[in-house]
Symmetry: none
Subunit: 212 residues, 4 copies
DNA sequence: AATGAATGAGCTTTCATTCAT
DNA sequence: GATGAATGAAAGCTCATTCAT
């Protein structure tokens, strides 16, 4: 006894993640879900409704994952926590990048999604929020510079994961977590030290380097 | 006497911005350009090449700004130069984000685009290159920290503008230039100072602030 | 209750024989079979696969005759067995020469056909094989010269029927079976005796003639 | 000063020989002839007329080549003369096989060609005639078995070259003359000795073998 | 005579959707 | 609920032909 409605939604999600919306056909969905093509129209009014359902569920999932992130404030070395967080965000985006792009490619879909996102408060802002709150807390603990704006910082970190996820997805690579982690460390070094020239003596820089 | 090649490109741009890629058909393009459908294939090898051409022209502004960036090394306050550049990039991407994402949402189209880019020796990197070269020069002038990797920094700046463009599009907002500029300044401050807490005395920070 | 798959194949055969491949369109096939054009692609991967299927069925007779040939080894006069077989091959090829040549006239189609044959492990050789095996058996029985290469001989016989079919089609003639049979006998005599002058006495030749 | 009319015909012939009729476009012809596409319609009523002209000229050429063959009766070793002749026929067919097949693929073209061939007495029969006459003469000289029918023999030889030409053209191979010659010798051995078992003593066979 | 941009009908193929079973 | 054969509109693309220059 299988819940075919759910099967179809799951199959749609899987195909959206791996192949995108542009070439997503009802035939492929039916094959992936191991049901007849006609059954789709028994459970959903049309293809658009099915896609809409699938995307919505994916977005809720992503939101939940990210909102549970900042429970770890002060528990471990900051860089470790951040790395973990970024890896989670990376994974989420690696899975969702095709969908996000797809929504932009269809003005109809885009408009409807905008409405939904407003209603349910799902959106990039709301997701970054979790990271931002976490950084603010760490800042209060003195583990982050008092000069930075936590929101802006959260965004910078956020962006890097998106970029990496898109690049890897589109080039067909799927590096394992250790590799991803290594790349993040590289970017984070730049972000932590800042772009501005250091006004202090040479020792300072050396010290920093030693620290890491 | 009409240049139909240009007509077709213009029509494509118009339709991309108003309806998105998903609903873009050669039939519609021909109708919009008031030419026969077959003419498209006289001037372009296939639909992908036409889209490529349209996107290239849309990105012209960004290209020009970034290629001319190295000429401004050391001319004005670093933050001013960067702000101007980022604003232009932002604007172009705000206009074009629909189209760029669309291409990413269709694996077939994306592959064909990469082929065309190879044929013509154009790469997405080439745009960031200008920014990267500029940052390196500024670094040599001592206006940027010696600890940063100019390439990584260029990427961070680049990403921020794209992300901002996407986010505003996704949420349906269209802030005017002063607002955009303000937001950039916020990000850049974070990037310049770095996330890490300053190990030196309070004066240091004050000095930095004064400098800007 | 109609088997539309078969309808489509039948319609294809009819159109191939009456109009040739050059003017064969999927539209016409669908109309002839009284089905929707799209149905063709439900039952066949592409137009080439449909044509392949149609040709296969047309060649069925030849296949059966040749595969059953080894069962007749030594049962009747060798020349009778061969004549029967060649007549069937002739007939099939007279019907099918248009189509076979058509496939050779389109490089794309020809390549696709070879792909399909590879997929299904079918080869044109396999038909000649039956003839070749038969000749080898007869050779062991002493009813064929020990000096000949059964494969080369099989090929010669095979070619003669095809050539005759092509020539008659090309010149617009359609001789009845007795005429065809007579012509084959003529060829076979030449093949059996060989072109080389007989080095032995006159009696020899007389003996041969008596034998047949 | 160039005769563009002839240029176009020549280009058409070249393309027909190498690529066949099925994908022959006026655009390709114009490019091959280095003229504008429109010029074709200045010199020929339509594409069909051009093709017709080109094919006709090719057929006349072939006819001439083959009718001059049997002037060498008795001049050299029989096998040498035959080998030379077969090589010429082979070459002609290697060049013409696509055309022959193409004519079969279009019933319209086929019917018109049939008419023309009748009018001008060009056809496979008339071409084989030359070979047949030659064999008859050699038979009278005692260099061929008195038992064979020269016409049937001519056909057998003829067929072999066609078959080899088709096979090589379609598999994309173009073996040089020595290779072709070697293969012919193999077939000719079978044809010369005949398929029938040798009724004479064992020595005879040995003698034959020694002879070769 | 020569050009090549422009036309538009027609091609193969795709795919969301329907419907008899 | 479930199937999958069947539909037909529309997609990208080809190509013989025309025509202003």
């Amino acid at each position: 006894m299988s819940d075919n409605r759910q099967n179809i939604i799951d199959a749609t999600q899987r195909l959206l993640q791996t192949h995108g919306l542009a070439r997503l056909t009802t035939r492929d969905i039916a094959r992936e879900a191991r049901v007849a093509e006609g059954l789709i129209y028994h459970h959903f009014k049309d293809k658009a409704e099915l896609i809409f359902e699938a995307v919505q569920i994916m977005m809720e999932d992503t939101k939940n994952v990210l909102q549970n992130l900042p429970l770890q404030v002060g528990t471990r070395a900051l860089s470790d926590i951040l790395e973990d967080a970024l890896c989670t965000i990376y994974r989420t985006h690696y899975e969702g990048v095709f969908i996000i792009c797809s929504i932009f490619s269809d003005i109809h879909l885009h408009k409807r999604m905008q409405e939904i996102m407003k209603e349910r408060n799902i959106g990039p802002r709301s997701k970054i929020e979790g990271l931002s709150v976490f950084l603010e807390a760490e800042q209060r603990l003195g583990r982050l510079s008092k000069n930075i704006d936590p929101q802006a910082a959260a965004r910078c970190l956020w962006l890097i994961t998106i970029q990496l996820a898109m690049e890897n997805r589109l080039t067909g690579r799927n590096p394992d977590e250790t590799q991803v982690r290594k790349e993040f460390r590289n970017y984070m070094q730049t972000l932590m030290n800042g772009l501005a020239p250091q006004p202090t003596s040479e020792e300072n820089i050396t010290m920093k380097k030693v620290k890491k």
